[in-house]
């Protein structure tokens, strides 16, 4: 028996030792501990030295050209820069390029800043631009530069891109994270993980998967407005309630995507600011138009009239959003939402249903992802469609399965979302163009394809706008999808946070942010 208790005692001692020693790396290196919250040690000029951001997802890959998640993007935006920068006013402004001009319809020339350098100290030149774009053309993200045929170095600070065709949205494409400029010298030096080297205000410091990723300020940043906080740490808190409590406790300074049903606790806290603005994520109900009976346009319109968007909005996000008629994400160029569309009208829905030849109703299946808000939306839609005699069976699957099933055209009806805050072509072409991989509606219409091409390539702004409005009106009437609502962007943070650059799509820029003291 003594042996048993000595074994237990030894286990206790061993465990205490383990616990005491463990996490040393985290604690020692995080400039503050995970437990004490953001220690107000202060920088030299009235700001807290570290900024800690609680993310809603795990950071999974920091190689720019192998990833596409917002959680990675917000880190990479602090360490890397592009030729141009997309502002939250919806325009592109110079960044690594000082100016640009179209030499002709298919050639665009960029002049680069001459004093930019990477965090390693190597100067950033035209060779790095060519290296990055050539590498991107051969990577997972090659679609970002699908219209770029080649990159030619004219001199150290001038590059010319040869395009397949004139493209109204080339600049927003060049402002995206996957094509941020990387260092050719870093790759050629044989260093491990050379993609960490960028020219941004911060440089990569440490990443422990599942725990944190930290970037530190570049002391000799080449630009005129360097970062303020000495370091920015991104910590995943997957459970939303834990993230909220961590913010209230002061363990983190920013809580990304706080749960809507817990906002009141944050709003009541005098040390926290809750910011809410119109987002760009459009949630929609959609049809596989290749599959009968949903190839019937009138039947689709009947369904559109039967859905109560206000009820959907309430059930999905407690009303924190904007119901929408058009198929384009709010805030994008040419957004137009004044068409008649199909408002909630049960009598009109019943009439359209009869006109479509289904006066006695029908049964169908709605495919959804097994997460909020889809499960909530599906229940409202199911009840709405029941009112006009359509029996809906809800089929719940994981995101990955839903995407594959939709791509293969196995679904009848489905719920999905599309998030875009910079390029209209990323909406029109990807969702509605004949044969596009993301065209889960399996929609195909030569007139739509033609209008999409005009919006993408027409130089005359007025003609382009006309085509855009016509395209939206046409698609709302054709009804391959029923737009439901745009969810608000909600974020909560320490009331002393300054310098935020929030984007409706979630790809925020934290490189100017700090906690003032």
């Amino acid at each position: 028996m003594k042996r048993f208790f000595s074994a237990m005692l030894s286990a206790a001692l061993l465990l205490s030792l383990l616990a005491g020693c463990g996490g040393g790396k985290d604690n020692a290196s995080s400039g503050g501990s995970t437990d004490g919250g953001s220690s107000a040690d202060g920088g030299s000029g009235g700001y807290k030295s570290d900024l800690i951001i609680g993310t809603a997802a795990d950071i999974n890959n920091l190689n720019l050209q192998e990833q596409q998640d917002a959680v990675n993007n917000i880190i990479l935006k602090t360490t890397h820069e592009n030729l141009v920068r997309f502002t939250n006013e919806g325009t592109c402004v110079p960044c690594l390029a000082t100016e640009w001009e179209y030499l002709d319809d298919t050639h665009i020339q960029f002049k680069l800043v001459e004093n930019a350098h990477f965090s390693t100290g190597e100067p950033l030149t035209a060779e790095d631009i060519k290296f990055t774009y050539d590498m991107a053309k051969d990577s997972y993200v090659s679609s970002v530069l699908s219209n770029v045929l080649s990159t030619e170095v004219v001199d150290d600070y001038t590059v010319v891109l040869e395009l397949e065709k004139y493209d109204n949205e080339l600049l927003p494409s060049l402002a995206s994270v996957p094509v941020a400029i990387q260092s050719k010298a870093a790759y050629e030096s044989g260093m491990e993980e050379p993609w960490h080297v960028g020219s941004g205000r911060y440089k990569f410091d440490d990443w422990v998967e599942g725990q944190f990723c930290r970037v530190v300020k570049v002391d000799d940043y080449w630009g005129e407005d360097p970062g303020v906080a000495d370091s920015i740490e991104f910590r995943p808190y997957l459970e939303a309630s834990s993230r909220v409590i961590a913010l209230q406790n002061g363990e983190i300074d920013v809580c990304i995507d706080p749960p809507i049903n817990e906002l009141q606790y944050l709003e009541e806290d005098e040390n926290i600011t809750v910011e809410e603005k119109t987002g760009s994520r459009l949630f929609y109900f959609a049809f596989n138009v290749e599959k009968a009976p949903w190839d019937n346009q009138t039947l689709r319109q009947a369904v559109a009239c039967a859905i109560d968007r206000d009820a959907v909005l309430q059930a999905a996000v407690y009303g924190k959003g904007t119901p929408q008629t058009t198929i384009l994400n709010r805030g994008l160029w040419g957004f137009y939402d004044d068409m008649e569309g199909f408002d909630y009208d049960v009598e009109r829905a019943k009439k359209l249903l009869a006109d479509a030849g289904y006066a006695n109703g029908l049964s169908t299946t709605l495919l959804i992802a097994n997460s909020a808000p889809y499960t909530n939306i599906a229940q409202v839609v199911q009840a709405n469609l029941k009112e006009i005699g359509i029996d809906v069976e809800i089929q719940t699957v994981e995101d990955a399965t839903l995407k594959t099933m939709c791509k293969n055209g196995e679904q009848e009806l489905y719920l999905w979302r599309w998030n875009e805050d910079s390029k209209v072509d990323f909406v029109y072409r990807d969702l509605y163009y004949t044969g596009s991989g993301s065209n889960y509606h399996h929609y195909s219409d030569p007139h739509v394809d033609e209008l999409v091409d005009i919006v993408n390539t027409e130089k005359d702004e007025e003609k382009r706008m006309q085509a855009g409005v016509e395209l939206q009106e046409y698609l709302v009437d054709a009804c391959p999808q029923v737009p439901l609502y745009i969810a608000n962007l909600v974020i909560a943070y320490n009331k002393n946070l300054t310098g935020t650059m929030l984007f409706p799509g979630g790809n925020h820029d934290w490189s100017h942010a700090y906690i003032a003291q």
Partner: protein, 311 residues
């Protein structure tokens, strides 16, 4: 004894083969193409095909499985589709957190359950016994994500004693260990009580008392010692559970363990990461089982003699 251990370790080979095959087939049957999660939303068919070719997804399932096992024979568990990192290295990075949480939660559970189980057994059919069993029922029924959140609200937000989450030292460990441990404590309490009840009715206990042995020594020296085998079994089982099944607590407390890694990889259809991690978990569970067998021998000379005979 050594031969017995070697035999048990060799039995891990068919277990690993069966596990890997089941995971491969299951991941293939769940639906959802990993490429759809990896490729950008606007990737063309050609790009998708290139990625598929690069990852070897165009090969038939059996060919992929044989290739994977071939790599494993050389110690290569593959490379994650998502992070592009070596699966073994990623698992090894997460393992200390999992071991720390698993050991500490089982320790908490044992610390609570063993005295409570003995206490309820020697006070059978009294209000003390009923109270202990209500605690056990509460522990079994309580979802640990709920308990975790309640503990965070009370001890972290309310009292400010512990951080709400994150990986670190002892202060970070206490709430997750208590959350997972209390669930385990319930089962260990019930097993301890039941094993002790069997023992306290034995003749040798009566004899010991008749000989004037003090009650404490009767219970702990004669009773508990003979009741330990089922208790050790259930503690071993809980340790195996904790190694792989603490995913909810890991999520609530932002604890970077193996469970969270596996669940996240499943949702991304990251087959190499899922397969490699589960194989490693399988090995860990086998090792725990062997360790439990050895502990039997440590406490019971009859079992030790049996091993020696078989070995």
């Amino acid at each position: 004894m050594i031969r017995y251990i070697i035999k048990r370790l060799l039995l891990m080979i068919p277990a690993i083969l069966a596990t890997s095959l089941i995971i491969f087939v299951a991941m293939n049957m769940t639906g959802g193409d990993p490429v759809d999660s990896l490729a950008p939303e606007n990737a063309t068919e050609e790009q998708i095909e290139e990625i598929r070719e690069e990852l070897g997804l165009n090969d038939p399932l059996l060919v992929r499985y044989i290739k994977y096992m071939g790599g494993m024979l050389h110690g290569d568990l593959g490379v994650s589709y998502v992070t592009k990192k070596d699966v073994f290295a990623t698992f090894a990075e997460r393992l200390p957190a999992t071991l720390k949480l698993a050991c500490s939660s089982v320790f908490v559970a044992t610390l609570v359950a063993l005295p409570l189980g003995i206490y309820t057994a020697i006070h059978q059919n009294t209000w003390k016994d009923t109270g202990g069993m209500i605690f056990a029922l509460f522990g079994v029924s309580m979802p640990n994500f709920w308990l975790g959140l309640m503990l965070i609200l009370f001890f972290s937000l309310g009292l400010g004693w512990f951080p709400s989450g994150g990986y670190g030292g002892l202060r970070n460990l206490i709430l997750p260990a208590v959350t997972v441990g209390l669930g385990f404590a319930a089962l260990i309490t019930r097993t301890t009580r039941s094993a002790m009840l069997d023992v306290v009715r034995q003749d040798y206990m009566t004899t010991a008392r008749a000989k004037g042995v003090p009650e404490k020594k009767v219970i702990f020296g004669h009773g508990l010692k003979n009741a330990l085998i089922p208790i050790i079994t259930v503690i071993g089982m809980q340790l195996s559970n904790a190694l792989t099944g603490s995913v909810l607590a890991e999520t609530v407390f932002s604890w970077p363990g193996v469970g969270r890694l596996i669940v996240d990889s499943i949702s991304k259809r990251d087959t190499p990461m899922v397969t490699g991690s589960i194989i490693m978990c399988c090995i860990l569970v086998c090792i725990v089982n062997v360790a439990v067998d050895l502990i039997y021998a440590f406490f019971d000379p009859r079992i030790k003699a049996q091993y020696a005979k078989k070995g």
